[in-house]
C-alpha cells in the first residue's frame, strides 16, 4: 500500500494467563481510512482492538508480545504514558456507556480531565464534538439534561462525540451499532463515513454487509489468527483464502 500508516502491528501475540488469544497478528492501520475487523464470535477481533489502546492492561494476567507502533514508537514500551496514549486513541464501546451526568458534562469530561477549564473553550468543544457526531441539532436545547434520557442511538452518538472531544488521532469502535435499531445504525454508519476525513478508524463488526458498506480495508480474524487482510472491495469479491470466502458467503459464523 502506498498509504500513510497510523499504526503498524507486527507479530503480536496476546495471552490471557496461559491462554493464547491472538497469534502472530501483523497488519497496518492506514491513516484517514476505515479498517474493519470481521470474524465469527470469539475469534479475537475485540481483544485485538483493545490491544491498540492498551485497554487489555486492565485485565489481570493479560500479556502482549510483538510490537505495536504508532508513529514509529512502540506503544507497549515501558516509558510510554498510557493515559496520554488513550487520549490520542479514542474508544467507542459496544453498549453505549454515557456517564450519569448531563449531556454537556459528558462531552466536557474528556477535555476537563486533561486540564481544560475555560468555559468558552469547553462550550466550543462540546458544540463541535456534538456536530461531529451528528447529534448537535437533536440535543442543543437540552445540554443540561441527563444523558441517560437519550435514546440508545443518541446515547451511542453521544459516546462518539465524547471521544471526539479529546481530539484523538485514531478512533477504535467495538461493534458500535450492534445494540442499536436499524435507523440508528444507518445514522452511525453515515457518521463513520464522514469521520474518515479527519480520523483514522478501526471498527470491529460482526455484520459483514456493514463492513462492506463503510470500510476501506478489511481484516478477517478466525480463532485468534489473522487469516486475510486487504482492500475491502478485493476481500469481498475476490478473497485469497478459502476460509475467508466461506465466512463471507455465510457457510459458517
Amino acid at each position: 500500500m502506498s498509504e500513510q500508516m497510523r499504526m503498524t502491528v507486527e507479530n503480536v501475540d496476546l495471552y490471557y494467563g496461559n491462554f493464547r488469544a491472538l497469534r502472530s497478528i501483523t497488519l497496518n492501520i492506514p491513516a484517514n481510512r476505515v479498517t474493519a475487523l470481521i470474524g465469527p464470535s470469539g475469534c479475537g477481533k475485540s481483544s485485538f482492538l483493545r490491544c491498540l489502546n492498551r485497554m487489555n492492561d486492565l485485565v489481570p494476567g493479560a500479556r502482549v508480545s510483538g510490537s505495536i507502533l504508532m508513529d514509529g514508537e512502540d506503544i507497549y514500551a515501558p516509558h510510554v504514558d498510557v493515559v496520554l496514549l488513550r487520549k490520542r486513541i479514542g474508544m467507542v464501546f459496544q453498549r453505549p456507556n454515557p456517564f450519569p451526568m448531563s449531556i454537556y458534562d459528558n462531552i466536557a469530561y474528556g477535555p476537563r480531565i486533561h486540564g481544560e477549564k475555560r468555559k468558552a473553550v469547553l462550550d466550543e468543544l462540546v458544540e463541535s464534538s456534538l456536530r461531529g457526531a451528528a447529534l448537535w441539532e437533536e440535543v442543543k436545547d437540552r445540554l443540561s439534561k441527563s444523558a441517560l434520557g437519550l435514546s440508545g442511538g443518541q446515547q451511542q452518538r453521544l459516546c462518539i462525540a465524547r471521544s471526539l472531544a479529546v481530539k484523538p488521532e485514531l478512533l477504535l469502535m467495538d461493534e458500535p451499532a450492534s445494540a442499536l435499531d436499524p435507523i440508528s445504525t444507518a445514522k452511525v454508519e453515515d457518521l463513520i463515513r464522514e469521520l474518515r476525513e479527519n480520523y483514522s478508524i478501526v471498527i470491529v463488526t460482526h455484520n459483514m454487509q456493514q463492513a462492506a458498506r463503510i470500510s476501506d480495508y478489511t481484516a478477517f480474524f478466525l480463532s485468534g489468527e489473522l487469516v486475510e487482510y486487504g482492500p475491502t472491495g478485493t476481500m469481498f469479491t475476490n478473497p485469497r483464502d478459502q476460509r475467508t470466502e466461506d465466512y463471507i458467503t455465510g457457510r459458517f459464523g
Partner: protein, 284 residues
C-alpha cells in the same frame, strides 16, 4: 509529569495512608485491650463471685449470665425472625402490608438500644412487676436481634436459586416442604452468618440489659432461675467504672474487656471455619 499524573500519585498515596491507618487503629485497640486485660484473666477471676466493696472479686456469675441471656434471646428471636424472613421472601405479595412489614423491620433496626432498654423496663420490670431479671433481659435482647435476623434470612432465602424451588415443586412437594427441606438448608450459611452477627452484638450489649437484667447478680452461682438478677460481663464493666466502689475497678474492667474481645475473636474464627467448609461442600 503532568498535573493529572501528579494528582493521581498523591491521591493513591493518601488512599494507601487511609487503609493503613484503619488497620493501625484496630491493632492499637486490640493491643491495648488485650495487653492490659489478659494478665488479669485467671481461673479465680473467671469463676469467683464479685465483691461489692473489696478488691479481688471475680466475674463468674456475669460470665454465666452473659451466655445464658444470649442463648435465651436467640431461642426467642430465632423462630420469629427466621419465620418473618421466610414470609417476606417466599409468601409476601407486593402490597401495603408487605411494605408496612418492611418499614417496621427497618424502623425496629434503627431504634437506639437504650430506647429498647427503657421499653423493656416499662414492659417487664415495671409493667409485669418482675423487677430486674434474666427473662426480662433475654426478651428485650431478642428485640435487638429480631430485625437483623429477618433481614439476613430474607436475603439468604432470596438468594437460593429459583431452579431449586421449581425442581421441588415439580416433584409434587408442597410449599412448606420445599422451604423446609430444600430452601432452608441452602440458605443456612447466610442465616448462620446473621446469627453470629446477632450473638456478637448481644454479648457486648449494655444499655438494654442495664434496664432489664439489672446490675446485680444472684446470690447463688450458678443460678439458672429465669427470675434472677442478670448482670452480664459488659454491664459489669460499665457498672464497675460508674459506681467506683471497688478499689480494683480498673483491673476488673480491663480483664472483663479482654475477655469479651477474646470471646468475639473466637466467635468470629470459630464460625468462619465451619461456614467455609459448608459452603465449599455445597457449591459446585
Amino acid at each position: 509529569m503532568t498535573r493529572q499524573r501528579m494528582g493521581d500519585r498523591i491521591a493513591t498515596a493518601l488512599l494507601w495512608a487511609a487503609g493503613i491507618l484503619i488497620l493501625v487503629i484496630l491493632a492499637a485497640f486490640l493491643i491495648r485491650i488485650l495487653g492490659q486485660g489478659l494478665p488479669v484473666l485467671d481461673w479465680n477471676f473467671l469463676t469467683s463471685k464479685p465483691r461489692a466493696m473489696a478488691a479481688g472479686g471475680g466475674i463468674g456469675p456475669q460470665l454465666f449470665n452473659t451466655f445464658y441471656i444470649t442463648a435465651l434471646s436467640l431461642l426467642i428471636s430465632l423462630p420469629i425472625g427466621v419465620g418473618a424472613g421466610i414470609y417476606m421472601a417466599e409468601y409476601a405479595k407486593p402490597g401495603r402490608l408487605t411494605e408496612l412489614i418492611r418499614l417496621s423491620t427497618e424502623a425496629l433496626a434503627s431504634v437506639p438500644s437504650i430506647v429498647l432498654g427503657l421499653f423493656g423496663m416499662i414492659l417487664f420490670v415495671n409493667g409485669m412487676g418482675w423487677g430486674f431479671t434474666i427473662a426480662g433481659g433475654a426478651l428485650a435482647l431478642s428485640l435487638l436481634n429480631l430485625p437483623v435476623l429477618v433481614r439476613v434470612t430474607e436475603e439468604a432465602v432470596r438468594a437460593v436459586p429459583q431452579s431449586y424451588r421449581e425442581a421441588s415443586l415439580g416433584l409434587g412437594a408442597t410449599r412448606w416442604q420445599t422451604i423446609a427441606k430444600v430452601i432452608l438448608p441452602s440458605a443456612l450459611p447466610g442465616i448462620l452468618t446473621g446469627v453470629t452477627l446477632v450473638a456478637g452484638r448481644a454479648i457486648g450489649e449494655t444499655a438494654i440489659l442495664i434496664y432489664t437484667a439489672g446490675v446485680t447478680v444472684s446470690r447463688h452461682f450458678p443460678d439458672p432461675s429465669l427470675m434472677a438478677a442478670g448482670e452480664t460481663l459488659a454491664v459489669r464493666i460499665w457498672a464497675v467504672k460508674s459506681e467506683g466502689l471497688v478499689p480494683d475497678a480498673d483491673r476488673i474492667a480491663a480483664g472483663t474487656s479482654a475477655l469479651l474481645v477474646l470471646v468475639v475473636l473466637v466467635f468470629n474464627f470459630l464460625l468462619a471455619a465451619p461456614l467455609y467448609w459448608y459452603r465449599s461442600r455445597n457449591s459446585r
